[in-house]
Structure formats: C-alpha cells, structure tokens
Point group: C2
Chain length 321, copies 2
C-alpha cells in the first residue's frame, strides 16, 4: 500500500518522519518540489530534497530545521574575502545563502552527477541511498523550474531563494511565477506513483510555493482530481498562521485567505479531505462549504506521538486503516 506525499521542505520532512512511525518507509514515496532549486557557486542546490533527506536520516540540525547537525562554515567564512573585490555588477560570492562544509559534499555530488548526464531523479535516489533512507524520494521533474517572486514594494522579480533567504521572506510579494513550467514535464515516476498510490497526502507545506510548482506541472492536477477521494491534504495554516515560513502572509498578499478555509479553496479541486488542527475546529463548516471533508486532529508535530497520530488520521482519511 504505497503512500505518496507531495512535499515542500521542513513541514513535509517532519510529516514523512512521523509517517515512518506508522507506515512502512519502503512503501512511502515523497514527490518533492524543485522550484526552490538554485545554482550557487556553480553548484546545483535542491533545498527541499536535502531538507527531507537529512531529516529522514536523522542528520538535520534540529534547531535550524535545515542543513546538517554539527556543521561548520569554513568555506562560507572564506568567501567574504571575495565579496570585497567582485565588480559592482557581479553576484558572485553570495554569502547570504549559507552552505555548511559537510553539506557541500551533497551539492558537489549532485552537480558532478548532473554534469555526467544523470537525471535529478537518479541523483536524488543515490543521495537518499547514501543516507540510508528507506523511503523513495523523487523530484517533481527532471527539468529546470524556478519559482520567481515579484516583490511588491521594489517592483522587481527575484528568485525564490533571494526572497526566502536573502530577504528572510519579510517583504510583501505581489506575484509568484514558475519559470520554465510550460516546458517542464513531471517525470514518468511521478505520474506512475500518483496513479498507483493507495493514498496521496499533500504535506503541510506552503500551498503556493511548495505544492504550487508540483501542481503546475502538466497533468498533475488532472491526476490528482481523478484520484481526489484518495487525496488528503494537511493544512499548513494553523490558527491563521503558517507553522513555518511566509505561507500566511503570502496567501493574503496574493488575495487569498490565511486560514484553513483559504487552504481548502486551493485544494478542493484535487483533494477530498483537509486535516485541520482543533484550534480551527470552528472553521470546519466553512471548509466543508469550500468542498472538502474535514478531519480534526492535532497537526503541530511537537512530539513524535502527535506526529504519529496525525499520520494515522491522515492515512485513515484516505482509507488506509
């Protein structure tokens, strides 16, 4: 009984970790957003894939939520020397995106393998194996898709990482666009998993910039809509705020509602059920009015037990007892 999980970064990683407590990891497939992917220093960075890999390996830094524990930052420190000499027109030597020394090996390997002609799907599987993962992780596409964010006040469009990391997602946005999406294809593996999975979970990730790119790929929403009864989404908005990141503000800035109801309006076409936290119980009728069934259970994964129960209730909603 395969469970497919549509994934962004931290929230999805934590859900997958919780899921491993109640469902065989070998029967779990994470379909991971790559719209956040970027190239820095010539290296191919896949932040969401790495966050999930490191989390499931038990190697994630528990405080930061990203990167490796016991990490050092020697290469980053040394980069400062070059910031001082680069031409005014150059963006080389970015020091606003931290890459730890151990973490670099992952980007080295990914970059070298892609240069050799391997697909991101192949490399992602190799890296997962290197970390001992039982779950299967597949990128949403082997093509390049870049999430671009228009900053409302500056009136410029920047890459997702420039918004998310460099500006600490603290500035309002006026538009989100997935560059390259029209030419990109979901991989055959992604389509096959979505068609065959017993249950499909939309992880508690940002619906716009994490789940959005996956859904924007040709054919994905159609597959999900066709399997809507088996699709269960977990709201990343709890009590009107995002558990992590800018999803709440982003929803409002883009004209939606930062609530489980706003989430339900986005997911109703593709998912039959929305899992919401008890704090939002009063909004259950509005979620149902938006076209989704409601499961109410603790969704802030502050302990393993809460995470396991969330995973159990989520699978149950898709028909897996």
């Amino acid at each position: 009984m395969t469970v497919a999980v549509l994934c962004g970064g931290v929230g999805a990683a934590r859900f997958l970790r919780a899921l491993a407590g109640i469902h065989p990891a070998a029967d779990t497939v994470g379909i991971v957003n790559t719209g956040d992917d970027t190239v820095l220093h010539g290296l191919r960075i896949s932040p969401d894939i790495d966050t999930i890999t490191y989390t499931l390996a038990g190697a994630i830094d528990p405080d930061r939520g990203w990167g490796l524990r016991d990490e050092t930052w020697r290469a980053m420190e040394a980069l400062g020397r070059y910031v001082a000499v680069r031409p005014a027109t150059s963006a080389a030597a970015p020091t606003w995106f931290n890459l730890g020394d151990h973490d670099l090996a992952t980007h080295f390997y990914r970059t070298a393998r892609l240069d050799e002609g391997a697909t991101l799907t192949e490399v992602t599987a190799e890296i997962a194996t290197a970390w001992g993962l039982q779950q299967r992780l597949v990128p949403m596409t082997d093509d390049r898709v870049a999430t671009m964010v228009t900053l409302r006040d500056e009136g410029i469009e920047v890459s997702f990482q420039e918004y998310f990391v460099r500006r600490r997602h603290s500035v309002p946005v006026s538009a989100v666009r997935f560059d390259g999406i029209a030419a990109a294809q979901p991989t055959p593996a992604v389509l096959q998993v979505l068609r065959r999975a017993t249950a499909i979970v939309v992880a508690p990730s940002n619906p716009i910039v994490s789940i959005g790119p996956i859904r924007a790929l040709a054919g994905i929403d159609e597959v999900l809509a066709a399997r809507r009864e088996q699709v269960v989404a977990i709201s990343p908005i709890v009590g009107g705020v995002a558990l992590k990141g800018p999803a709440d503000r982003m929803l409002v800035e883009l004209g939606m509602e930062a609530s489980v109801v706003g989430v339900a309006r986005l997911y109703a076409p593709i998912a039959a059920t929305l899992v919401i936290d008890p704090v939002d119980a009063a909004l259950a009728p509005a979620v149902e009015a938006a076209g989704m069934r409601v499961v109410i259970t603790d969704s802030v994964m502050s302990t393993p037990e809460i995470g396991n129960e969330l995973a159990r209730r989520t699978l149950a909603a898709a028909g897996i007892a």
Copy 2:
C-alpha cells in the same frame, strides 16, 4: 622595467616570492600555465594560479607546498559517503583531489564569475587583489586547454591531475598532449607583456607540462625567439633530478635527458641564457654547446637569501642590474 615570468606552480611561486625581494612586485607579471586546470564537483580549479596566489600572499601551507595553511577538510571528509553509492560508470565524488574548506571559496568565486561571463584573466586579477598581491598574474589563455598524459603501462590517456595527483605521478608516461591548444589563443595581455617586458624569465617549472602549454600557444615561441636575448631560463633540473614533481622522469620517458643539458636543448630556441646550480657546473660546456649561455648560481631556494641572489643573477643575465 617589467619582468615577465613564465610560470608553472610551486617552483614558479617560490621564484616570484624571491623576486619580490629584489624587484618591485608592481613591475612583475606572472604568465601562468592553465593546462593543469580541471573541473571537479562542477568547480573550476586552476591549481598553478592558486599556488602562486597563495604563496605570494604568504598563505600557502609551507609543508604541503599547495593549498592554504591552517586548512580543514570537512567537505572532503563528507564526500566519502557518496563514493559508496555512485554508479560504477561515474567519476563523481572524487576524493583523490583534496580541496580544503577555505580553499573552496576561491573555486566558488572563480566558477561563479566565469559563469557570469568574466574571463579567467579578469577573475585571476580579482582573486589576486583579494589576496593583496602587488604582482600581476595572468593566465596564459582564456580558452580551455587540458594537458593530457598517456600512461605507458596502462596505455590510456588521462588528465594531468589524474596523472599528477591521483597516481601521484609515479607511473611512466609515453606522451603528453595539450587538448584544445590549436583553438586556444594567448590573451592580448600575455602577448603585450612578452613584447614589452624588459626581461623574461622562464621559472624553474616543469619544461614539458608547465612551460610546455604556454609555449604551445600560437605565437608564443615566436615572440620569445624574437626576444631571445632578454629571455633567461632557470633550470628545474638540479643534479639530474627535479626539485619537485616528475620533470626528471618525464624528460627521460619522453626521450630527452634529465639534466641541465636536456633542459638547454628544449629552451635554446627561445632563451639565450640558462641558470644552473653549481652542482651542475661541469655540464656548463655542454649547455653552451646546446646553444645557451650559462649562469652558475645556487638555484635551490632553501633560504630567502639564496632566492634573492638567484633572482638577482637571473635579472642581471637579462640586462637588469
């Protein structure tokens, strides 16, 4: 009075450092071999340029002779995990070429700047500035040239670094080739420096794989031959052995003589004078018979004083008192 120095790695770096003691660094230009350059982990590595830069900055590791002092190797350590999972056909995650964590920043900057469209000449100057160098360093070309070495016993051709580092230059070679040399051009800066310099020094570097690529570029040997009286070479072979690296064995394996006489036969067309060590004084007549004037002075730069005197005698031979 500009002094131009044709450079490989360690020997050239030490000569330039010695030269700085007796000649204004601002009037010194190093023209550096890039045939050793390679791409590892997607990063553009220029070993000879970096060795010279770090040496002149006083930042070179004094024991290894390459890389930075007080270096750490965290990224390299972490790469081992991926060696275990890469496909048999993959060369990703090479752990035989050590890149220190601080050193990585240099490759990050170079790679990013080249990706932005900067020339290697521009990037090399920026990196030299970042390290406070007064000397000017210019790569021999902005085009890609790759020194390829045929291994006699294995009968295969490998990149220079695979020979030099991976096999610790301990296997016999049967041929050396400069891939890309026919399409490569020396930069305008290189030609201008060679035409205008008051003196031109061929550093005590490997005549085949360090000086050879520079000379193989279109027009270089012609410029040097035209300025032959101002060109002084320092023999990298002392007492029949290379001060560093495989130059002695390589000369023999390729049918030449591992002696100052063998060096003289290579350099006679482009340099009027060869600087040799007193240990080779008896060979002075043979060097002269090969067509070069001889300067005899201590050429093993074991102390700053010996280095300074070597530099002084070298410039004097070119007419700079």
